[in-house]
Symmetry: C2
Subunit: 374 residues, 2 copies
Amino acid sequence: MRNSKKFALLGNKKPLKLDSGKKLENFKIAYQTYGKLNKNKSNAILICHALSGDQYASGQNPITKKPGWWSKAIGPNLPIDTNKFFVICSNILGGCLGSIGPKEINQKTKKKFNMSFPVITIKDMVNAQKMLIDELGIKKLVSVIGGSAGGFQALQWAATYPESVISAIPIATSFRHSAQNIAFHEVGRQAIMSDPNWCNGNYINYKKRPEKGLSVARMLAHITYLSEEAFQRKFGRNLQNKLSLAYGFKTDFQVESYLKHQGQTFVDRFDANSYLYITRAMDYFDLPGQKKGGLKEIYKNTPVKFCVISFTSDWVYPTKYSKEIVDSLNAVGANVSFVEIETDKGHDAFLLDEKEFNDTVKGFLKATANRLGF
Amino acid sequence: MRNSKKFALLGNKKPLKLDSGKKLENFKIAYQTYGKLNKNKSNAILICHALSGDQYASGQNPITKKPGWWSKAIGPNLPIDTNKFFVICSNILGGCLGSIGPKEINQKTKKKFNMSFPVITIKDMVNAQKMLIDELGIKKLVSVIGGSAGGFQALQWAATYPESVISAIPIATSFRHSAQNIAFHEVGRQAIMSDPNWCNGNYINYKKRPEKGLSVARMLAHITYLSEEAFQRKFGRNLQNKLSLAYGFKTDFQVESYLKHQGQTFVDRFDANSYLYITRAMDYFDLPGQKKGGLKEIYKNTPVKFCVISFTSDWVYPTKYSKEIVDSLNAVGANVSFVEIETDKGHDAFLLDEKEFNDTVKGFLKATANRLGF
């Protein structure tokens, strides 16, 4: 399935007011859709992508030429069934695949934003998505679904627009970024900003790219996406194309080769400044901090049905954070189901073909569709 | 207590043959001692330092002007009691505080080694320590004690020189480096080697220093030394000297400030190439791989008494690795005691003032001293 590029021009009537106090006018959001919108425009599902994701959730990614990041989950008869649902996935605000972000042109100055792009938040991203949904004429979403930072967005949708979403599936996520989460992001940012090719963020103007710094940031992040057990099972101490240690600093171990590959392929498809902005938005995410009384107050009387999913070996957003969400929802009598999935695949399990995970999403959406009469 | 600089010139009669096949002749090992060696030279304890440690385990560190890294553990009436024991701590092979390493002069070429320094292993470090002990006229050590990479050395001592050590205390350590351990080290090395001031390792010749790269490596490593709980308890999402988010990329959170400080102070006292060499030595550590039959064969009939200590919240070398050591020792009927200490302080707990840890070391050494008639 080929992806044709879709854009929405938003904020032309009313600007998007950001959490920082700044405003964005006349900005583009790039998005993709899968399946068909029904006549009543009542069968739409919004997929929210994570830090390094994009709008190409299914079909072929035009940059990497590989299948979209969730093509195993989205499609006919798949967990997110495009025979029933119209699936929308937009490149998040601050992203680098066509939505407004640091590498785009500031319409006011006619120059690249670079680091003059305003710092954004998860809530800002969700507000931009809401503008897109409005633009598409959709009043209510069947579901908002996302893993990791996509889960932040799903939780924020349910908090900010409870009347516009029937259900939310926050996966492998948390209600706030922890100190350790912030710490890992800060090291990644320092790696990027220490690269002399970053040029104080103006690398595009100099036709340079901070590839080494971004690669180090990605290598580090990738360690956190896998569990210790998965690393051991996949690589152990296996050597890369050699029978004995080389006593040098080139690649000795398979795990080194794997990580370097992850770093190298990432710099071909991702913008370093976008990485700074999106990690910052994640660090700033603190849902309970948005309202006095925290999660309970935020979700009091919520009409949204939640399906919270966590993975046993996820150490970035461990199950305990999902449980805190579930406890708060239960405390206010919300409709919530919670599934902790036993896997050694770590945080990235939601991107992989995990049967129990697929079954959970499929079952929850099927029940929702049945209730809605699809 | 002031530390006067002590050096031993080793390998002048017989060179040190390294695991790589290369040899080191006429090399210096810098060391410090605390307490007094008795007449029989039978009261010596060897302390092995970790990756970023040095020989200044107690007294004042002449570089940082701060107390030595284990001054809470070594001294009169302290767990490692200098009223009874003569305590030796040497800067490891490849280190940067006076022992031979990449920043020292190659006596053959009269130039700095830089990256021509041979890649070394934990076993090489231990062999150099054995030469030092021989030089000091000590036949048998009461104990070899170390945490983290110091624990690797303690385990290696018991494996290679079982007749020369009465006891070993490996702390917060493992019998081999895991895939995840290697992965974290590789990211740190890439950060250093990506810094243009690294100059292919020849930065000293150019009067430069890869400070940014080394700082990123240290920041990353530091995250692994603390537990997620400790990060949350110490910093949470507290802001640094401000009341609200700054919507920028400077320091917003206390945890960012803390990490940056860790990075900045490290570059003042540590050599980047040494960091590469020592992390590589750690990656290469695979004790069971040294002998067919693994740990059981290595420690079969060992006369060494072991006290293995782990910490519940250490996720770099979790308790399961200590348990595997203990299981192997038990399987061959070795004399081993094992203590897992409940703490949320993470891997670095061995450097901190943990009462149960101090009591364990003190009790084990006291019993050993009693047996020896001190």
